[in-house]
C-alpha cells in the first residue's frame, strides 16, 4: 500500500500523547521528585569522591555535575517504551495497525516525541533549574557551543531511538523483549557517560566505547556544551553521530521488513 506522507497527521499523534500526559499531574510531581532524588544522590557521590579537590585529571567537579545532570536528566526524560511493538504483536493488533494509511514507524516516533516533549518540559527543565540553583551546573561555554549542543543532542536522540527500534523489531522473533531492552539499557547506563563520565572509565573501556554508539547519545553533546570539544571539530562528531544513525537505521529497516513478512505469512 502507498502511504502518503502527511506531516500534520504525525503532529496529531505527538499532540494527543502530549495532552493525555497533562492529565496525570500527580505522576508528574512524582516523576520530578524521582529525577531530583536520583540527580541529588549522584551529585553528592561525586562531591564526596572529589573530596575538596578542584580538579581530577583536568576535569573539574562542576564539569562532572553538568555531565551528570544533562545525561541522567535527559535519560529520565527519554521515555521510550521498548515493548510497544511486542504488545501489538502479542495481542494481534499489529496487522490492524499496518492497514492504517500512516507509516507505523513514524507513528511510533511521533507518539514517543509527544511523551518526551512533555517530559522535557515537565521533568528535565525544572530539574535543571533546581540543580543550577542548588549546585554548580555550568552554563554553556558560549552561544555557538550551545547551538552545536542543540544539534548534537537531537542527533543523540536519533541514536537512542534507533537502538530502541532495533530492540523493538526483534520482538518479531523474541517472545519477551523486556530482557533485551534491559540489557540494552544496562549498556547505555554504564557506557554512555551519563552515570560515570567517559573521562573516568578505564582506558581500555573508554577506547572500546568509541567504537560503539553509546557515547554519541549524551556524552558528545555534553562535551560540545562544555566546550570540551572545540566548535571547529564539531563536524567530525556530527558525522560520527549521523553515521551511527544511518547504520542502525539500516539494521532496523531490515528487521522491520523481514518481521512484517512474518506477520503476513502467519496471516496476522
Amino acid at each position: 500500500m502507498k502511504k502518503e506522507f502527511n506531516f500534520s497527521v504525525y503532529l496529531m499523534y505527538t499532540k494527543t500523547i502530549f495532552l493525555s500526559k497533562l492529565v496525570y499531574k500527580f505522576d508528574y510531581v512524582l516523576g520530578l521528585l524521582n529525577t531530583c532524588i536520583q540527580l541529588f544522590i549522584a551529585c553528592l557521590i561525586w562531591q564526596t569522591l572529589y573530596g575538596g579537590n578542584a580538579s581530577v585529571e583536568g576535569i573539574s567537579l562542576p564539569m562532572v555535575i553538568t555531565t551528570i545532570v544533562i545525561g541522567q536528566g535527559l535519560s529520565n526524560a527519554y521515555f521510550i517504551n521498548d515493548q510497544a511493538v511486542s504488545k501489538l504483536i502479542k495481542d494481534g493488533s499489529i496487522s490492524f495497525t499496518l492497514l492504517k494509511p500512516v507509516s507505523f514507524r513514524l507513528q511510533l516516533l511521533a507518539e514517543a516525541l509527544g511523551e518526551i516533549t512533555f517530559r522535557i518540559l515537565s521533568n528535565f527543565l525544572p530539574a535543571v533549574i533546581i540543580f543550577s540553583l542548588a549546585t554548580d551546573v555550568l552554563p554553556p561555554a558560549g552561544v555557538l557551543p550551545f547551538l552545536l549542543f542543540l544539534i548534537s543532542i537531537s542527533l543523540g536522540f536519533g541514536v537512542l531511538w534507533m537502538l530502541s527500534s532495533i530492540v523493538q523489531f526483534l520482538s518479531f522473533w523474541v517472545m519477551n523483549v523486556w530482557s533485551l531492552s534491559t540489557i540494552k539499557n544496562v549498556l547505555i547506563t554504564v557506557l554512555s557517560g551519563a552515570v560515570i563520565p567517559i573521562w573516568f572509565l578505564p582506558e581500555k573501556i573508554a577506547s572500546f566505547v568509541s567504537y560503539t554508539p553509546f557515547g554519541a547519545i549524551y556524552f558528545i553533546p555534553t562535551r560540545l556544551y562544555l566546550g570540551d570539544i572545540p566548535p571547529a571539530e564539531a563536524g567530525i562528531y556530527f558525522t560520527q553521530q549521523l553515521l551511527w544513525i544511518i547504520a542502525m537505521l539500516g539494521i532496523s529497516h531490515l528487521l522491520w521488513s523481514m518481521g512484517k513478512q512474518r506477520i503476513v505469512v502467519q496471516g496476522g
Partner: protein
Amino acid sequence: MEWLSLFKHYSVLTIKERFQYKLNAILVSLAVFLREGATIAVIYFMLLRFGSINGWEMYELLFLYSYIFFTYGLFILFFTGLRDFEGLVRIGSFDRYLLRPRGLIFQIIVAKVDWFAAIGHGSLGLLLFLYSAFQVNVSWSAINITYCALAIIGGVLIQAAIFLLMASLSFTFISVSNLRQILYWNTRKFAGYPISIFHASIKILLIYIVPFAFVNYFPSQFLLHKTDMAEFPALYMYIAPAVGFALFGLAMLYWRYSLQFYKSTGN
C-alpha cells in the same frame, strides 16, 4: 515439614512453567544479573580512579553493596508474591487464595517462588559477598558468621515487612505503585553507599522511616568498624538483625487487621 514439600512442589511447577519458554527464562535471569551488575561496574570504575569514598575502600563498598543484592535475591525467592501483590488484588486473583485451606501469607510465598529472578539477583550478591568478604579486614569467627547470617535474614525481613505493609495498604488504596516507587526503590538507591555521606534528613529516612540502614550499613559496620560509625549509636549495630524480625511481626499484625477491607474487584 509438610509446608516444605508444598514449597518444593510449587517450585518445580514454576520452574516447569518458565521452561516452557526456555530462552526467555534464561534471558530474564541474564538481564536481571546484568542490571544489578551495572551498578557494581559503575562503583568499580569510580573507585578505580578515586580510591575511596568517605574512607570506604573498594572492597568494603562492594561488601556493603552485596548485602543489598543478596538480601533482595533471597527476598525475591520467597516474597515475589508479596512484591506483586497489588496486581493480584487488582485482577481479583487473591480470591482464590482465600478459597484454599492454607495460610494466606504462606500461599503468597509459595505460589510465586521465582527461582530465575532469585538467581539473577542473588547470585551476583552472593558472588560479590564471597569475593569481598575475604578481601576486607574481617576475621570470620563463629560469632561473626552467626551475626552475618542473622543480619542477612533480618535484611530480607525488613524488605518483606515494607512490601507486606504495601500489600496491606493495597486493600484500601488499590494503587500503591507510586508509594512503592518512592519508599522502596528510591530509598534503595541511597542505601548502596555509606549513609554517613548523606544529609541528616536522609539519614533519618534510612534509619527510622525506611530502615535500609539496618539491611546493610549497620551490619557491615559491625564487621568492618569504619570510623564514620562514630556518629551513630553503637547499639544499632547490635540490634540490626533483630530489627527485621520486629518489623515483620508488626507488618503481620497490620496485615491481619487490613484483610477485612479486601474488596475483591473484578467479576
